[in-house]
Each structure stands twice: as C-alpha cells, then as structure tokens.
C-alpha cells in the first residue's frame, strides 16, 4: 500500500469514527489525537485494532506510546518503520 493510500484510509477512519464527519479540513495530519480530545482510551485501543485489521500491523506493548500513535503523521511514520522491520 502506498503512503498516500494509507494516509487516506487512516484519515477516513479517524474522521468518520471520532470526528463524525467527512470534512477533510476537520483533521490536520499533525494534529495530536490526545491534545485535541479526538481519541480517548477506548479510541486508542480501537486504533490499534484498526492497524491490525487494515494494515496487518501488530502493535507491541512497548510501542504503545504517543510518539507512535498520536497523529496521522506519527502513525504513518510508525507504519513505515514497522514495514522496514
């Protein structure tokens, strides 16, 4: 999957399920999910499930840190790092 396709899929997931909109301008790629109240604890867990089901990425316990999961950009960076192994 290309980075653009992954970005599109990830953005759609966050926009539809947590901001309840398809308005693209509602979410900047570097907006913090936590600081902006976009995801709560349950939301983080759902995001992990989504990465598993949509990208076949298993998130390890020590990877569950905001640096990896706190914005569209940080998740994409995390996905790229995982892809490189």
């Amino acid at each position: 999957m290309t980075t653009d396709a992954a970005r599109e899929q990830l953005r759609q997931f966050i926009l539809n399920n947590y901001l309840f909109t398809d308005e693209q301008s509602a979410l900047a790629d570097d907006a913090s999910f936590l600081d902006n109240g976009i995801l709560d604890s349950m939301g983080i867990l759902e995001l992990i499930d989504f990465l598993d089901e949509g990208f076949n990425i298993k998130v390890a316990g020590d990877e569950l840190v905001p640096e990896n999961l706190d914005s569209i950009n940080s998740v994409l960076k995390f996905l790229a790092a995982k892809a490189q192994g």
């Binding site: 399920n17 309840f20 709560d40 759902e46 569950l64």
Partner: protein, 643 residues
C-alpha cells in the same frame, strides 16, 4: 406524592373560567394523584390539587382552608414531623379539625409567618394563599425532592408540580432553552432556576417565593447547604460518639418516614445504603417487610446475587423485576414525557418500570437509600478528586496518576506507561486545583464530547457556559471549604437535585403513583454529616467510612464492607436491536435533525453508522446518541404543537 397547580392573576377572574383552567392543568397530573381532586377559586387566585391519599385518608382533602377562610394551601409531599408540630401548636391553643399533615402547615404559617418552612422536616412543594396579605407563598423542600415549576408575565403567575401542567394557562407553547440543553450536555442537568424550556422556571431547593402580584415576586432561601470553613468548625466528638449520633439520627429519620396510613415497602439494590435502611426498617416494623429491586438480563449489570444475600439475611418478602434492552426501548418515549428533560443515559427507564411493579403489588410508598453517597461520601468522583488533588501537588509525577487505575479497574488503557493517557483523561485542571469545581472537570469534559454533534447555528446561539454558572452557584465562603466538601456540594446541587431526585427519582416514582421517601436526606442528618471531618466520610480510599462502621451493628461484613457499586442500567444506545428496530429510529433520521436544527445530520449519520458496526460505542458516544435521541423525543412531545 400529589400534584399541585395554581394561578395568581393581575386581575380577578370569573370563578368558572378559573376552575376550567385549573382542572385542565390538574388533569395533566392524574398520575401523581389519582385518588381525588379539588379546587379553590377566589378573585384573582386559583389553587388546585390532585391527591394520592397516604395520611388521613378521609380528612386530608385539598386545597385546605383555615376555619376562618383566611388561609388556603395546596401541598405536595409529606411533613414527617407533623405529629410533634401539631402537639406544639395545640399547646399554643390551635384547634385541628383533621389528622392530616396539611392542616399543620396552615397553623404553622399563622404562628411563624415566613419562618414556617424551617420548622418542617419533610419533602414538600407548597402553594399557600394568604387572603389578608393578598400574597402567594411558594416553597420547595431543602434538596428538591418535590418539584415545583412556574411561569410568569405581567398578567399572571402560574405554578405546577410538572411543566406539562402549566400548558393550559400559558399564552404560548413551549420552546427550547438552548443554554439549558448545553448545560445538560455538560453536567447531565440544567441549573435552577432554569429549566429546559424558555421562560419556565423552577423554585430552587430550599427557596421560597413571595408573590404579591405577577410583577412583584420576592425570592429568598430559607435553607442552604453549608460546610465548615476551618477545622475548628468540624464536629470534634470521638469516632464512637459520632457513630452513635449517626445511628440515632438515621434511626429517627427512618422512623418518622414510616408514618403512613398505607403499607410501606423499600427499594433494595443490594448495596450498603439500602441494606442498612432495610435493616433499620425491619427492626421498627412488626410485620414482614416487602422489598423491591431491579435485575438486568445483562449479567454485567445485574446485582441479583447481592440482593439475595441481603434478603436471605434479613428475611424480607422480595420482588424483583428483570429488565432487558427491548423493554427500555419500548418505554423510552413515555419516560421522556415524564422526565420533561433530555437524558444522557437511559437509567431512569428501569426505575419507572420498577415503580410500575410496586404499584401493581398494591404499594403507594417506598423508602430508598438515595442521598447516602452524596451526604456521607460514597461516590468514586470523591476518590478521583482526592487523587487528582494529590497528583496536582506534583503534576510531573508518573506514579501519582497510576492511583486512578486502582479506582477504575475496568478502565481500558493501553499497556506500558499509561501515565500519559491518564494525564490526558484526568489531568484536566491539573494546574488549577484551587478551582471550586476542580473535582468535576474530568466528568464534564467527557460528557461535553456530546456537543461535537451540535450544529453550527445552535452552537452560535449559546452565550453562557456551564462553569461560569457553576461558579455563581457557590456561596463566597466556599473558598474556605475543604475540597471534599466542595465536591459534595457540587454533587448535591447538580446531579442529585437535578437528575437523581427528578428524572430518575420523583418522575419515575410518580409516573405510577408511588411516593419515595429518603431518610438519608433528612436535613438533621445532612447538617450533622456536613460537620463531619472528611476522614470520617472517606478514610484513605474507603468510602462512607462512618456509615460502614454503623452498619456493622446490623449487617455481616460481606454486606457492610462491600465496595460501592454504581447503579448501572442498560443504555439503549448499547443495543442495536433496541435502537434500530423500534420507533426510536424515527427520532434519529436526517429529516428529524434538519427539522429541529440542533444537531448536524451528517455527524449523527456517522454516529449511527458506528453504532451499527459490530463494536460498542464508548461512554461519550453512547451518551451523545442518547442525548440526541431524547432531545428529539422531548421536542416532538412538547414543542411541535400546543399540548
């Protein structure tokens, strides 16, 4: 409980016309008082009453006048100390012609004037007409157990036990109070004197209105919550002395609430509060006590096993009503007609089904443990506030917030270092622990997520906010109160009075002509508890410490020491079947959203899409969906036409 109505007009009204309006108003309160009705029409004043007969079945008809016709009263509720008040008045020479508590109010007013509510121990909403002074006195009990609403313009002041009963006297229909909806979507309740409808007000708990004419209304509080301003003002007796005092007060509060000419039952949840109450009742009643409870088909919510333990120990005759999601869906529309407010969880619905069950078993009165958590310190939010205050002393600490995970063991958190997540969810206000409402900020933040669905136009119509209203709720001396007491004050003034005693209390009880009585809200017990050092409410993280010690007199340790379980009822938003395969679906369509313009149809569509997917909605989302649904039900019932 009964239902009361009344009008004070600027100009005299023909009695027949007055009677017609009062009867139309009272007819909307038939559920509160099915046993009889009565009216008083005199010049510009009319009073009406719908009666649920409980004390002096033959002689307590209302509105009731003094023998000389100088005073007339319409009254909803109970004066539990009426026997003692009557004896004191008889010693002063007053003559009584009935055995009811209503007559005591008339003589008490004559003897003590505007100070009379301070003499009352009870739950009440009173409309009293003083012919000589040409004044109407409206009074509501100290904590808001009995409801009392009013409307006024230059021509008239109209009052009633429920908002719907005002309708026949209003010059126009009901319109939504946008700001009040914003308050409900923050703190679960609007703040008195406001209501969810524009220009409809409520007499506040502990407040008294003196109405000389519709343009001349004086408001004053005869009672207010208060707490010590320094440690020197706390009750300094020993722990054992305080336990004895609590025991004495709760025993007497229960005893006077057993005064009735009809049989009395009790609600038994299986928790500490209702268990100790039932134990006290059991000791005082020389007959088998009938207890009632809810059970839920969803095992995650059901407390039947705990209830059975108490029932077996105390030997009560017990009836349990089992509830499933579909019953809640089927009863929700009718429930909102009675709550007269949007709700964010459907927890009131089972309480309405329970009172129906009680009514069907032939009972009119039940005692419940409501109020113990607020008065004696039982809620998790008090513990949460304690941890957050501790954390705020070192905001950078990573282990201090970990204490919260002990508090909410069921909270799902990412593994690893959870402190960053805890900081996000509970850290709101961490830099401002001095705020009087610091304890409740995380809760309000979670609930406020439901406002994401407000339309731009609706959001633009709001010009005040909940926190600034809350700041006005506190008296000046609150700055010196202990943080634990501030949290108690907020819980009592907001969630207890505005939601638990109304939407989930009075409205669900009176829906089926049942009266609730609440010994833990006896004002003597509350005033005693308010002076307790906080350590006797919560010792370390052990809630309701003093009550537990007292309860051990009556109950075995597995009951008296059981950890507080919040009442959790099925939320309709958790059941796809209940939500989408019932009449409720019509209240969530894009057409309905567009018609009222409060919620953005597109966003509600995405929320429904998420609800239809296999995964459950989280707490905020379920609250939002329930809030949207019940707001539309309320608007349809009250604002789409004249009722």
């Amino acid at each position: 409980m009964c239902g009361i109505v009344g009008i004070v007009a600027a100009n005299p009204t023909p009695p027949e016309a007055q009677h017609t309006v009062l009867a139309a108003m009272a007819s909307r309160l038939l559920h509160r008082g099915p046993d009889a009705d009565g009216y008083y029409c005199q010049g510009a004043v009319g009073l009406g009453h719908r009666r649920l007969s409980i004390i002096d079945l033959a002689g307590g008809a209302q509105p009731m006048q003094t023998a000389d016709g100088a005073l007339c009263v319409t009254f909803n509720g109970e004066i539990f100390n009426f026997i003692e008040l009557r004896q004191a008045l008889e010693q002063k020479g007053y003559k009584f012609s009935t055995h009811s508590d209503t007559e005591v109010i008339l003589h008490l007013y004559r003897e003590y004037g505007m100070d009379f509510p301070n003499k009352l121990n009870g739950q009440f909403a009173i409309g009293l007409w003083d012919v000589a002074r040409q004044q109407l006195i409206l009074v509501r009990d100290r904590v808001g157990i009995c409801p009392l609403y009013y409307y006024f313009d230059s021509e008239q002041l109209v009052f009633a036990s429920e908002i719907k009963a005002l309708a026949p006297a209003l010059p126009h229909g009901f319109t939504l109070n946008n700001q009040a909806l914003d308050d409900i979507f923050t703190g679960w309740t609007c703040l008195p004197p406001e209501t969810i409808f524009r220009d409809i007000w409520q007499v506040q708990p502990g407040e008294m209105l003196i109405v000389s004419d519709p343009k001349n209304i004086t408001r004053q509080f005869y009672w207010q919550l208060n707490y010590p301003q320094n440690t020197g003002e706390y009750d300094r007796r020993t722990e054992n002395q305080l336990i004895d005092e609590l025991h004495h007060l709760l025993t007497d509060a229960t005893s006077i609430r057993l005064r009735s000419d009809v049989p009395i039952g009790a609600y038994l949840s299986g928790g500490l509060d209702s268990s100790v109450l039932v134990a006290l009742m059991h000791k005082q009643i020389n007959a088998q006590l009938h207890t009632f409870s809810l059970g839920f088909t969803d095992p995650a919510l059901d407390e039947s096993a705990f209830q059975d333990r108490v029932v077996n120990f105390l030997g009560t005759q017990h009836s349990r009503r089992m509830i499933d999601y579909n019953q809640i869906a089927q009863s929700l529309v009718q429930t909102i007609w009675h709550t007269e407010s949007p709700i964010l969880r459907t927890a009131p619905v089972p309480m309405g089904l329970l009172s129906q069950w009680v009514h069907e078993q032939g009972y009119k009165v039940v005692l419940t443990g409501e109020g113990a958590d607020e008065v004696l310190g039982g809620y998790d939010i008090f513990k949460e506030a304690k941890v957050r205050q501790f954390w705020a002393k070192q905001p950078s600490s990573s282990w201090r917030p970990q204490l919260l995970t002990r508090l909410y063991p069921y909270m799902e958190l990412p593994k690893g270092d959870a402190s960053v997540y805890l900081k996000r969810f509970f850290g709101v206000g961490l830099e401002t622990p001095e705020l009087l409402w610091h304890s409740h900020m995380p809760r309000w933040q979670t609930t406020s997520k439901a406002k994401l669905f407000f339309s731009d136009n609706f959001a633009a119509s709001l010009n005040d906010n909940f926190e600034s209203k809350i700041s006005r709720l506190f008296p000046p001396q609150a700055a010196n109160w202990h943080v634990f007491n501030r949290a108690q004050f907020l819980e009592i003034k907001t969630l207890m009075s505005g939601y638990l005693l109304t939407s989930q209390g009075d409205r669900m009880l009176t829906k089926h002509s049942v009266e609730g009585r609440f010994p833990f809200l006896d004002h003597r017990l509350m005033e005693f508890a308010n002076r307790l050092p906080p350590k006797f409410k919560m010792k370390a993280m052990r809630e309701k410490y003093l009550l537990r010690r007292m309860a051990s007199i009556y109950l075995p340790p597995d009951i008296s020491l059981r950890h507080k379980q919040p009442y959790r009822a099925p939320n309709v938003a958790a059941s796809q079947d209940a939500l989408f395969n019932s009449e409720l679906a019509d209240y969530l369509t894009a057409d309905t959203c567009n018609r009222w313009g409060i919620f953005t149809a597109n966003k509600v569509g995405f929320l429904l899409q998420k609800a239809r997917a296999a995964k459950a909605l989280n707490t905020s989302e379920a609250q939002a969906l329930t809030g949207i649904l019940t707001t539309h039900i309320l608007l349809d019932q009250f604002c789409s036409r004249r009722i």
